[in-house]
Symmetry: D2
């Protein structure tokens, strides 16, 4: 058997660990693996090479994706998907594994409708998929945010200021929520919770009255830009307020232990599923177990907001 | 209400995050917290101070335990336990929270037999408790081991050698198992798996034949000392073999994101359990949920070896 | 004797290591040290406390400044300086050590004109003082930028993009220059070198022709904002160009080894100079030696641009 | 012109940055570079390949050496050196650059006696060369030791213990000296200073009397094994004493900023020296400048112990 493998959409730390797990599990089971470079764009341009055990040596610990990634406008058209399916057939690729976020999974679905066997692996730092407790890259992005918060806290403390730290996540507030909990942020601004800026500022001032010399406010990008919040918070609190957008550092870096384990399990199980004749699934993690869920079903699952973590974070940052 | 809090046995990264969670959740709920320094030894010597919201400021990210810890021979006697119970009564401490490993939980049980209300929180880098999927400090210890493996790999590659990396864990191989998986170790020597050194050496030589220029062997301390393995492996493979015992660096360091989340949940839930009138439990994590299990039952639960991870690690390191 | 100590202006990693060195060297030599909180503002408000050997325990490795810092508008007036001198006299402080950048040194000069004995220590991440080869905090800021570049490179590579990384430094390009050299940036935009964006873009395209799949452009904040450069570079190269402003993470973090050594030497020598009856000097590092230079002279020394490093960086990034 | 390049002896972080600087500076100046794998052993076995600009892409930040290294017994004989010289001639290599420590420089001298043009670059974590203020890899090794000390301090504090931290350096105490200063160690045991263990223990006990709850003792490997010191210190102080040998982690890791700058300068200047028709030199750093010194002279220069740093460290760790 021959399978194909591509990474698509925004890159995430741990994609390489996933690629390694897929390639090695496949080869161990006498399955050939072809790597498709630059996502669906590379598929259309036939930028395809066979992968060996050695192609994936020394990549477990590296950020990014050795297959590289892209977004393709043409692939989003009917003609594009058709061309993609034809290329796969031409190369004798019987099953395609796609590592990416929800946009990439929609690409997988489009191919599936043309009869292509596909398997999805959730790789995105945003953790915005309802079907899986965790996505590959999320823990590393939070870890990077934590390191940044720790550095920003040093200078925020030294100047007795407030600092608004903007993190990624698109419409999902999970990076801000988890980094806020783990970094001890004094306030969280998340798309899942209606923002009452007056209440937040009052809370910050109460902290100041009790002796807190500085505050960190975590801001999910889905709620807007840090500059606006800085102005508004400084107006309301009369405390000098600065801000930082962590930007692209959140996408890179060596994957954390948790992401390496998750990536290994997901890549390994994607291939085992194919061996078991499963297809059309996305591999998800639920409560520590790994299983395949039909992609269309999986994409319809609502992302549940962890109100419990939000409440706990409020208590712990008093 | 007034509760007491101590850390006992070997320290673990995340103990401070747990202390912070307990103190803040308690105070938020109008419960007083007394910190008992140096574990049971400090209890016997009445080394006890009230803790405030500020006592635990700026400790979330710090390794070790601000309460410090110890092992007490006297506390292990009947007279010792009796004295401990008396001190708690004298200070009006109605409920004692103990953060530590299985030895510390036995201390908790001893106090409970004298009618003291106790609550346990599993804090140990060894991850050797059958009752909880994860213990506080384990992920950080694995993360430290990963960083060390990465550094050792640089020099091992440069010299085309084998390096045996010895990690902690007492009788449990989990640090070696998880760091071996995440670090891409070429072989694992664990107390849970019978070691066939000839088979391991053959595997290393096969890797060499296929072009691997170096190998890392993870050794759990429960299987013996790295020096003996270096000699035996070098004899069998004729490849220069060096070794490293990571030692005490594994006990320290800023807790990882995973450990901060675990510590926050466990500390928070320990206090919520007390508020719900539960007692005599150890707070455990099972498949992402947090619950209390009676300590005596919890201590009897066998630690299940993750054969699936071991098998996966074998496949992924070909 | 009694000396005073304050940190002023922007904070820098290693200020705490400097404070520790000053306090311990002073106490070792039977000199009392009073810490003045929040820079000149705290001096005017008499926010002053004696420091002991223990006040500075466990701060060597911490970013920021335990004395905190500020900018004071009132201190910049004649009345302000006079008030400052009076407070010092009232507290019996015979000699004032000021850790900060050039603005802070101007404050020192103003006090000196009123007869106050002052000693300066150059603490700023910008490395913008002509008098000293290195300033405290600079190596750590470059180290932080390196870590960020490494992460940004992962995602920039994965998408075959250009990324413009904006760093601090005010009018000085040193953070960009050194981080660019150490991080292997493909182009540098510095205030000290006239920017020929066409030439830079041509160079990036030549790299692409030779097979470079991505590029990092270091931008010193003295040259403008990364957003403008992204637009211009994307226009000229037709390569997707993203950007990141590292922002406040550059001000924090545990000081690097080089900064700890520099801070220790400078703090130690500041006190030794006072003991030797020197005054009105700033402690500088020149070619590995530490000496005191009169502050007014020191401030007039032009900062020499390291053209040799710029040229070397051009060659090494081909 | 064609030059050869090898790394020899113990590997050091920054060797790859040096290789990159040499290859790129050479190619920029139209000089061919041949990489000789595995040091002198690879020279004798003709394990030689041409290097291009791309051979050294993405290695600046990596520990170890892509050319790998070794020690060769045969090369140490007259016949070995003769064979080496013959191989170089056969490959048309006019000038050989050797990156390594003093043993490697002796190999360079042996080749030079046979008329081979050689150039040395000091790469060793030990910083044990009298001719150069710093050697490539030293700052990174100290940085790794600092990180380890910080982790060990967490657990040492938590248990109120003493911990003896053994570091590398062969007969040179510089890693212990600098890491001791930067890490705030309470005592240093160095080969350059006669050890008075009674005085050290008294000092540790005085610290305890003044309230220090734990102590770190830095031990240079040139003074013996940490286990012996643990026993003796525990005997004398009656404080529980543990120890850690940092081992091979000190040889690896991504080079620090200081090492990348040093490596870039040294590699760049090695090639510029060859272009200027210099030969038989080792490139050294003296007070921030880079120059070539004849190898035989350079090897005779005594390593000067930095008594001033030792004295300063004593004062700062009170």
């Amino acid at each position: 058997m021959r399978i194909g493998l591509l990474t698509s959409g925004g890159d995430a730390p741990g994609m390489n660990a996933t690629i390694r797990a897929i390639v090695r599990t496949a080869i161990y089971n006498k399955i050939e693996v072809y790597g498709i470079n630059r996502g669906f764009a590379g598929l259309l341009e036939e930028d395809i090479t066979p992968l060996s055990v050695y192609s994936v040596a020394d990549i477990l610990q590296r950020g990014g994706t050795i297959l590289r990634t892209s977004r393709s406008d043409f692939f989003a058209t009917d003609a594009g998907v058709k061309k993609g399916a034809a290329v796969l057939e031409e190369y004798g690729i019987e099953h395609l594994i796609i590592i990416g976020g929800d946009g990439s999974m929609n690409g997988a679905l489009a191919l599936q409708k043309l009869g292509v066997k596909v398997m999805g692996v959730p790789g995105t730092i945003d953790n915005d998929l309802g079907c899986s407790d965790n996505t590959i890259g999320f823990d590393t992005a939070v870890t990077t945010a934590l390191d940044a918060i720790s550095k920003i806290r040093d200078t925020t403390y030294s100047h007795n200021r407030i600092n608004v730290v903007q993190v990624m996540g698109r419409k999902c507030g999970d990076i801000a929520l988890y980094a806020g909990l783990s970094g001890g942020a004094e306030a969280l601004i998340l798309p899942e919770v209606e923002t009452d800026l007056d209440a937040i500022c009052e809370r910050l001032l109460q902290g100041k009255d009790r002796g807190k010399l500085h505050s960190i406010v975590m801001l999910a990008e889905g709620c807007g830009n840090y500059r606006d919040y800085c102005v508004k918070i400084e107006e309301r609190t009369q405390v000098t307020t600065r801000g930082t957008n962590l930007g692209y550092i959140q996408r890179g870096g060596s994957p954390s232990n948790a992401d390496r384990i998750l990536a290994s399990f997901m890549g390994y199980n994607a291939v085992l599923s194919i061996i078991k004749k499963e297809t059309g699934c996305i591999i998800v993690e639920r409560c520590g177990s790994y299983l395949g869920i039909p992609i269309d079903e999986a994409l319809k699952m609502p992302k549940i907001f962890r109100q419990d973590i939000y409440d706990m974070a409020s208590v712990l940052s008093i």
